[in-house]
């Protein structure tokens, strides 16, 4: 340990001592801060979940035509999210994402009003996926429907537009 009597030091030496201390303190600070940054950066990136949760699903078989009576609907799995396939009263088949545009609840088909309804906050959509009433800011995402096969045995193939 250096035990010099500060008062006895000439002014120049005292200043030099002070500069040296400041320099070393700065060096240490830079060192510690860079270490912290070098650790914080990968950890921060690690905490952000990777994108691969999003499915690459292009199309799925939602149901058989036979399984859907007119004026009814069924929920199916489209990747990791629910979809809803609706058979209208006049036999038309349509499919939408069943994820409500308001707060991600799953919508259901109301056969009495022939509407899609979200039970969470009472949002309703028509069978074109457009908002009729309630808080949803946008309509439901509409899927492309193709029938593969003949008549009632046909598969309802749903794909992203």
């Amino acid at each position: 340990m250096i035990s010099t009597d500060k008062a006895a030091l000439p002014v120049a030496a005292e200043a030099r001592e002070f500069d040296r201390r400041r320099f070393l303190d700065a060096l240490l600070t830079v060192g510690f801060v860079s270490t912290a940054a070098a650790i914080a950066y990968p950890v921060g990136r690690y905490l952000v979940p990777p994108d691969s949760g999003e499915p690459a699903t292009a199309s799925v078989v939602a149901a058989r035509v036979r399984a859907l009576r007119p004026n009814s609907a069924a929920i199916f799995k489209f990747g990791s999210k629910p979809g809803i396939v609706v058979r209208t009263a006049d036999g038309d088949v349509r499919a939408f994402s069943a994820v409500c545009s308001h707060l991600d609840c799953t919508v259901q088909f109301k056969s009495d009003t022939s509407q899609l309804w979200c039970a969470c906050h009472n949002g309703t959509y028509d069978l074109g996926g457009n908002v009729v009433s309630g808080p949803p800011p946008r309509g439901l995402e509409k899927f492309v429907v193709n029938l593969r096969g003949e008549g009632d045995d046909a598969d309802i193939v749903v794909s992203r537009a």
Partner: protein
């Protein structure tokens, strides 16, 4: 007014100030060994930190464990880094803990009044081995699966309570998903809770009693003379931090250049792959058990080996109470020879075990 003043006015930090100003470390030729404990402690911190991060993505089930680790190392950003650091740090930690153990052994730092520090340290070493054993299974790969079968099988050789402890460890008669759940609970909850308490006790004892001065150094002092002291804050702590930086550098280099293998997923119906062996820190024990003949004097060899290791472990824990000469401050050549013998045995058997077919 700065933050420290603000806290001081409310909590009165006089004692802390006093402690910080007074704490000193004796300066002598053997003080290099003082760093090992701090480095081990630092790695314990690294394990807690990276372990918590791994928990965010890991899934403890036979169906998903392997895939989740695969996900961590391939999909999650810097997931490979976190996992490699955790695996390498575990191994460095155990290596350093052994080095710490032997340095304390040779310097006789366990002698009165530090018996309890030694005992808590030995218990911590056993805990660390438990961490290693339970953590090894968690990725649920082929090697760890069969190594766990063998390891828990050894527990089954313990006389009287063997079968019971085997079932307790495995959560059934076989190594299954139930074993994985158990080892997971052990690894992330039970062992950390005990380890935290023991580390706190260990450090408290070290604080309370200060650093031990080796008997040789003490004897060389002139009567009435005192060893020079170095202030802990900031002189010694900065040296400690320097040692930690060395650890970080080694760890980062290992993690970046020698990724820890994931292997293939465990399949309980697959044949055992050749060259199945435990982690290096169990190799000496593993190889010794291989060498013991199947029957010695009518007793099952395996059983005899396990009992011998238990006795050796108990002996190690009790060293400060058995080494009376060191307690009186006399030199105890016998225990130095025992420590050297133990060290030579561990090193040679680990090396032989590594190369043995």
């Amino acid at each position: 007014m700065n933050v420290i003043d603000w806290v001081d006015q409310r909590l009165d930090l006089t004692e802390v100030r006093h402690f910080v100003a007074e704490k000193g470390v004796p300066v002598h030729a053997q003080k290099i060994w003082y760093y090992l404990g701090g480095m081990t402690l630092f790695l314990f911190g690294v394990q807690v930190f990276t372990g918590i991060l791994l928990l965010l993505y890991y899934r403890p089930s036979a169906a998903e464990a392997y895939e989740s680790v695969q996900f961590i190392v391939t999909q999650v950003q810097f997931g490979w880094l976190i996992r490699n650091v955790h695996s390498w740090s575990a191994n460095l930690l155990i290596g350093l803990a052994f080095a710490h153990l032997f340095s304390v052994f040779f310097l006789k730092s366990y002698r009165k009044p530090r018996e309890l520090t030694w005992v808590s340290g030995m218990l911590l070493l056993f805990l660390m081995l438990g961490f290693g054993f339970s953590g090894y299974l968690l990725p649920w790969n082929e090697l760890s699966f069969f190594a766990t079968k063998v390891g828990t099988g050894i527990a089954g050789a313990v006389p009287l309570i063997g079968h019971f402890s085997l079932r307790l460890l495995r959560g059934g008669d076989d190594v299954t998903g139930a074993t994985l759940s158990r080892f997971y609970g052990l690894h992330v909850a039970i062992l950390p809770a005990i380890a935290t308490a023991l580390v706190a006790l260990h450090l408290l004892l070290v604080q309370r009693q200060g650093m031990s001065v080796p008997p040789g150094v003490e004897k060389a002092l002139k009567p009435g003379a005192r060893l020079p002291q170095m202030p802990f804050f900031p002189n010694y702590i900065l040296r400690d931090v320097l040692a930690w930086y060395v650890v970080i550098a080694v760890l980062a280099a290992l993690a970046a250049f020698y990724p820890w293998e994931l292997g293939t997923k465990a399949d309980p119906f697959a044949v055992v792959p050749p060259g199945i062996r435990p982690e290096w820190y169990f190799l000496a024990m593993f190889h010794t058990l291989k060498l013991v003949p199947s029957h010695v004097l009518g007793i099952e060899g395996e059983r005899l080996g396990v009992v011998a290791f238990a006795v050796a472990a108990l002996f190690l824990v009790l060293v400060p109470f058995l080494d009376r000469r060191a307690s009186r401050g006399e030199s105890s050549r016998l225990f130095t020879v025992l420590a050297a013998g133990g060290l030579i045995y561990l090193v040679t058997f680990t090396i032989i075990g590594h190369y043995a077919k």
